[in-house]
């Protein structure tokens, strides 16, 4: 009896294990193995950390790496700042039909593919695009302006692509905040900012943390948006990995880059959790 139930347990577990092992652990082991082999001649390899040394030896590589990290963090912060009021509005200031409608409107952009969405931004922002034309028409600028191919355009694209993943967890946590807590805050003489700081944000912390983690990971690993909106020289690290694998055919260096990106995202998420960590576990414990 217990043998069959144990068998059932393993059978049920199998898909998850398979998914973890085949799609996550194996590729990364492979990636790591490839990343520590150096090409010494045609078809001859040697084990060593030469690829990692190459990364740190070439400023273009590690600067792009750092730039990607910083821009992703910035995109995460911007998404949070933009997403929080939206989520608060949906969760606390609307009810019933309006709430559902607004929530759906946040999802509408995700009904079209990321590629099409990003092209949408290109149509708006390019030299002959909508924004440029409107500015000229209003007489605010004298000639066509190019709004594409800069860091601001990348930022706009990143925030736009990931805002839903910030809004959803925030709406969920803010929904669970009892309105009478906010009223009690006002009743005891609190100003709106004090209530936001002392009551709303502490309550929403689990949502903020999980939203930030997802948005950060999505931005860091995004390939399409930085390349299309930032242009060929957008200097996004995923672009660099692509170049190594596809253009240069240097799988060894590409793997090292990939592995470094994995370490970076794990590290930033770990730090983020640590920074809010104590209160996160406390908040979870209290719920």
């Amino acid at each position: 009896m217990s043998d069959t139930s144990r068998l059932g347990f393993y059978l049920l577990l199998a898909p998850i294990l398979l998914w973890l092992v085949v799609l996550i652990i194996l590729p990364h082991i492979g990636l790591f193995v490839v990343s520590i082999s150096e090409k010494t001649g045609p078809r001859t390899y040697e084990t060593g950390f030469g690829n990692y040394a190459a990364f740190f030896g070439e400023p273009l590589y590690w600067r792009t790496f750092a730039r990607t990290a910083i821009m992703s963090i910035l995109a995460t912060v911007l998404t949070l700042i933009l997403g929080f009021p939206i989520a608060y509005y949906i969760a606390k200031l609307t009810r019933g039909r309006t709430k559902t409608t607004l929530f759906l409107m946040c999802m509408i952009p995700f009904w079209v593919s990321e590629l099409v969405r990003t092209f949408g931004w290109m149509i708006l922002l390019r030299e002959t695009g909508v924004v440029s034309n409107v500015l000229q028409y209003l007489g605010l600028v004298s000639g066509p302006v190019e709004l594409l191919y800069n860091d601001a355009a990348i930022m706009v694209g990143l925030v736009y692509t990931s805002i839903l993943f910030m809004v959803v967890p925030l709406v969920t946590t803010l929904d669970s905040l009892d309105d009478s807590l906010i009223e009690a805050g006002y009743d005891l003489g609190g100003s709106s900012t004090a209530i936001l700081r002392e009551i709303v944000i502490p309550h929403a912390k689990p949502g903020i943390v999980s939203g930030c983690i997802v948005v950060f990971m999505l931005s860091l690993g995004n390939y399409l948006t930085p390349i299309l909106l930032g242009g060929k020289d957008s200097l996004w690290f995923t672009g660099m990995i692509y170049t190594q694998f596809i253009t240069r055919f240097n799988w060894e260096l590409g793997s090292a880059f990939g592995f470094l990106l994995l370490i970076l995202s794990s590290l930033v998420v770990f730090l983020g959790l640590k920074l809010s960590g104590q209160s996160l576990s406390e908040t979870m414990g209290r719920a």
């Binding site: 009892d178 009690a184 009743d187 003489g189 002392e198 009551i199 209290r286």
Partner: protein, 368 residues
């Protein structure tokens, strides 16, 4: 003392929601340091009224003054009132000390001052040394006291309480009733307390307003509201009563003679000049004003005496009752006296019931 304005004064306060009127021309004064209860059935507009006083809802009409200053247009965080919410609304992300200190922090009181004032108020509500505990580590009654401490530390002019005992179990509720009353006396703060539980209102209040369908039916001391209700609603809602439908057959001065629906005759005293022969009325008779006597022992000329059979005995300690069915088949609840003589009463016994004509309330039947 007498010439200073009352702590809270409402004049024709009205609140309209889209389709109907939740609070309808309510006027009352609450003098400093008194315990004022608003008693009414669920949905009669109590919470709406309290939220207007706290500032969470804007009155559609009327005026509201606290210590003589009009509060119309003053936001809730600028009003000298504090509110104990129905579910207390303690902040779960803060410990007890931070909860109680919240209001003082907003006022910019210094850290050391906050600490000593928080400790002092927690002492006064009987919870010393809990500042570092989390909210969920306290029992229901303790949370209650923390919620009161969190308001009282701000020394508000008026403390508003919205059915704060509703969530507690019966035993604790009985205990907290007494405790709330003594806390109110100790702090000497004006309390406005809303409840649908008449025993809470009767035990704690200096004055009670009985509310129904958005209006105040009567304002008075617990004694007045219980013993001389102004309306049929008050008579029926406050305390237990036998309700008898009867028609006035004759009036002699203040004495009415009535015939009940089942054919019995009643005699009672009234001050209501509008009651005359032919008027259909409702008579409210409290179970404790009816006396049970042995058959045959009543004097010949006694009024309001009727023969009956004990239908059932409802034993409930000090609140034990019997139901008596009279000759005409009408039922009547009668409280058993607590002197020990009642132990002999048994189901099926023949008894006489008697009550004094001054002890019943009579109201004209509502026209609809």
């Amino acid at each position: 003392m007498t010439d200073s304005p009352p702590d809270l004064m409402c004049r024709d306060l009205t609140k309209d929601f889209d389709t109907f009127r939740a609070v309808d021309h309510v006027s009352f004064d609450v003098p400093q340091g008194s315990f004022f209860s608003i008693l009414g059935p669920s949905g009669c507009g109590k919470t709406t009224l309290l939220r207007m006083i706290a500032g969470f809802q804007t009155p559609s009409a009327g005026d509201l003054q606290i210590k003589g200053k009009s509060m119309i247009g003053v936001p809730p965080n600028k009003r000298p009132v504090s509110m104990v919410f129905q579910h207390l609304a303690l902040f779960p992300t803060m410990n007890i000390g931070d909860n109680v200190g919240f209001g003082l922090r907003q006022r910019g009181v210094s850290k050391s001052d906050i600490k000593s004032r928080v400790d002092r108020v927690l002492d006064r509500v009987g919870l010393p040394g809990v500042t570092d505990r989390r909210v969920d580590q306290l029992s229901g009654g303790q949370k209650q006291r923390v919620a009161i401490a969190r308001c009282m530390v701000l020394e508000p002019d008026v403390l508003l309480l919205d059915e704060p005992l509703g969530a507690l179990d019966l035993k604790l509720r009985e205990h907290m009733k007494v405790e709330l009353k003594s806390l109110q006396a100790a702090f000497n703060t004006t309390f406005v307390y809303i409840t649908h539980d008449q025993s809470e209102a009767l035990v704690m209040s200096d004055n009670i307003a009985v509310m129904n369908n958005g209006t105040f039916e009567q304002i008075g001391t617990p004694h007045e509201v219980y013993h001389s209700p102004n309306t049929a609603f008050v008579a029926g809602f406050v305390g237990d009563a036998n309700i008898i439908t009867a028609t006035v057959t004759a009036r002699d001065g203040n004495t009415l003679a009535l015939t009940t629906q089942t054919g019995g005759t009643l005699s009672l005293e009234t001050h209501d000049a509008s009651l005359n022969a032919g008027q259909e009325t409702q008579v409210f008779l409290r179970p404790e004003v009816i006396e049970l006597i042995q058959p045959g022992s009543a004097p010949e000329d006694a009024v309001n005496v009727s023969e009956g059979i004990i239908e059932s005995v409802l034993f409930n300690g000090a609140n034990s009752m019997v139901t008596v069915t009279d000759r005409n088949g009408a039922h009547m609840k009668v409280a058993l006296p607590q002197t020990g003589s009642s132990t002999a009463v048994q189901k099926g016994d023949a008894v006489l019931t008697r009550w004094h004509p001054t002890q019943a309330q009579c109201f004209a039947m509502a026209q609809d």
